[in-house]
């Protein structure tokens, strides 16, 4: 099939692509976006999460045919090492990163959660990030980082 997608605001067109190709493979193998990780390949661990039109999607169980014409966001699209996104800064500040393998997915969830509702509570964040597994941090710093970002967004909104 012919495929057009927008990844991190950049348009990509593929003349001929297997519609059953997994989104994760397209992103990693064809586009070199390696922040999208592979952890289980059956949709359980969540480290392959990307935002498709703003909504978390597991790229390891999503065929590319489902994202034709859609906007995809990965952490590379949020910020860069020189200019990290505030949420990324909060992840650093709150030590929400250890081995880093789940981090991109957690950040995208955080971005999605706060975008949806900046008034989100810690308990809500806890539930909402549960689709992504982390084995290092015990989740607490991740929840704190997302909450801090939510508060930051609120403060900015109020200004």
């Amino acid at each position: 099939m012919k495929l057009t997608i927008f990844v991190n605001s950049k348009k990509y067109e593929f003349e001929e692509i297997d519609p059953n190709m997994r989104l994760v493979d397209l992103l990693r193998d064809k586009l070199g976006i390696t922040s999208v990780k592979i952890g289980c390949e059956n949709g359980t661990c969540g480290v392959c999460t990307v935002l498709v039109d703003g909504v978390p999607v597991r790229s390891c169980i999503t065929p590319v045919s489902k994202v034709n014409g859609k906007k995809i966001l990965t952490v590379e699209g949020l910020g860069t090492p020189e200019n990290p996104h505030p949420l990324q800064k909060f992840f650093i500040e709150y030590d929400a990163v250890q081995c880093g393998f789940c981090t991109p997915a957690m950040i995208l969830y955080g971005y999605y959660i706060v975008k949806k509702n900046p008034d989100v509570t810690k308990e809500e964040i806890k539930k909402m990030i549960s689709p992504v597994l982390c084995r290092c941090t015990g989740y607490i710093p991740i929840i704190e980082a997302i909450k801090a970002y939510a508060d930051f967004v609120k403060r900015r909104r109020e200004k």
Binding site: T74, L78, V97, F101
Partner: protein
Amino acid sequence: MSKVIVKEKERVLNVVGHPVNRVDALAKVTGTAKFTADYYVPNMLYAVVKHADIPHGYIKKIDTSEAEKVEGVVKIATGKDIPGVKKVGFPIPDEEVIVQEKVRYIGDVVAIVAAETLEAARKAAEKIKVEYDPLPVVLDPEEAMKEDAPKIHDSGNIITHFKIRKGDVEKGFKEADYVIEREYRTQFIEHSYLEPVAALAIPVGDMIEIYGTVQNPHNARRITSLTLGIPMHKVRVIQPALGGSFGGKDDTANFVAARAALMAKLTGRPVKMVYTREQDMRESYKRHPYIMRYKVGFTKDGRITAMEIKVITNAGAYSSSSPLVLYRSTVQCTGTYEVPNIKGDFYTVYTNTVFSGAMRGFGAPQINFAVESLMDEIAEILGMDPVEIRLKNAYKEGSVTPTGQVLKGHVVSIRDIIKKLAEIADWKKKREEYSKDKGDVRRGIGISCAFRGVSLGAEGADYAGAIVEVFEDGHISITSGISEMGQGAKTVMSQTAAEVLGVPIEYVTFVGPDTSFSPDSGPTVASRGTLMGCGAVKVAAEVVKERMAKYAAKLFNTTYENIVFENGYVYSKKNPENKISFPELAKKCYLDRVNLSAVGWFLAPEIHWDPETGEGEPYFTYTYYADIAEVEVNVKTGDVKVKKVYAMHDPGKVVNPKTAKGQVYGGVAMGIGYALKEEYKIDGKGYPITLNFDKYQIVRAHEMPDVEVYFLENPDPSGPFGAKSLGEPAFDTVAPAITNAIAHATGVRVRSLPATKDKILKLLKEKEERR
């Protein structure tokens, strides 16, 4: 929340002890950190393994003819293609990178396919046909110990038998008012690092360069060098970002590296091998299941007089680090309590299950589960408070451990920790209050504490090296064989260099590990990274500092002892106003050709241990810690919710409170899984059931309780800035605190992990029936 309790006033530190951000966080949050599978090189082949089809049997024939017909297949290798040593492994070389004659568990690799595409490699691997002569399968270690059990290795099924003989147990039991016998069991645990094992091997001339998910690059180098039959300097192992390890990326990950290297050597092309979760869980080693039988004598007032212990651990198909894991269980067999009379026999045994090896805790969590459950059971029999009975028996300065080691030279802080933590958790009040709960949901509070021998102990030579270099512009690079796997090793080592040289941490960059230049530092295991890595960095930085100080002394017309390095400046104590910036001094030294690079070497104090009698000093120092857990148990459904965990640790010195706290949080999460959920299951015939996260469930965010972390600092004379261990203690004793809390809430005791709702319900039902 977390808090560091500093006992005494000490030297002011500027970087060490401060909550510095992780040095590798920026790369990780922006997705620019590269993990092994993120490397792509041109002309690369993909390799896939073919695993054994049966758990035990001789290989009669491997037929690759159909597989070879798959388009894109470049090479299929079997054990015969290994040019070097066939059997590897440490300390006992009984493992095979590709099995040649006999399969011993379902995760043995019998062949490897390298192909132009991943699809082709997978397809071909499926078409490899192996004919076997099946052998009887033994899965239970106690069965395996029997004379007539099928032999898994020629050497017999008992790999190691350690003994502890201290005092006279018969006498001890006579002195006791009560003698009880209990059996405790624990399960197989999967490390569940989120990044499956992988390796990329690239032939460069007559060398092989490997990027791998290896916890210990120097071990991967050794295994690859042995497998390929080439000297170590022809193998270069580079460790990219490592997506979690917890002890799990040693043996198996090294084999994956060696296999990729073998295929690269055989094809002359780069070879990438990335395991699927299923392949990883099928093949990779696990935490040992333990069977622990304790016979304990104690007096009416709660004093333990004797223990007779038998421990059997299931090593599975290969020995891996089982003897070393057993060693730790042996020397810590009474937990953190002084027992005058001990007779202990400890066995680790081959079976046809997946093999067991190193995992965070390394033989301690199982023992802690048994001993800490036991203490609560004794308290219950005597009607004592669990805190009381612990204080009664816990180690103090001068106590004698099961191996006869007298605890001295460091602060034996366990009693202090128990008291302080109980106070913080409001133990007494809650203990009473929760006992009164009557409804479906009942609350409970439990305590558990432990001690732990720091670093490798008599497990092996305990050394680490580091290189520190100051550049012309005053920035600093450091490297060591101690590796980062998320625990924050790079950060604390960077802090150490910054502290010694008196500069902000931003000046420091950690490079590697890369076996071509990072000094072999022994493995990054046994919670030794901070102690040994920072120790080596400190030594190297001090050498460079001295050279710079001598140069600065000339500038300031004084002696070098007077020179102070602080906050990016250098000055003489005599005249602190007259400063020079660190970069300026570096530049001056550079222009005058002063050597600003040094190797630091850190050697742990000498120790010795006799495996026959179990006597000696197995570790040079110990660390102490306790956890208190609060749970809610629904007695109708058996559901357990952990509501709160209080953790207190004495890691000597907290080098970085931020990352240290993170270690404890992570340890608690893993401990909850160990206590309540996780179990790697194998069916009655030796086939694993739980091969992915849908069946093998680890703790998710919504299951996490509030966690309060406290650090009680008692700087240890043997560690850099007084630091010792934290990584494993963070996990070690969480599970028994939870099962003790469950017992408090429900009145029933689960003696085999995990404490699933089915087990709890069954026990409640039995209790009901007894009534």
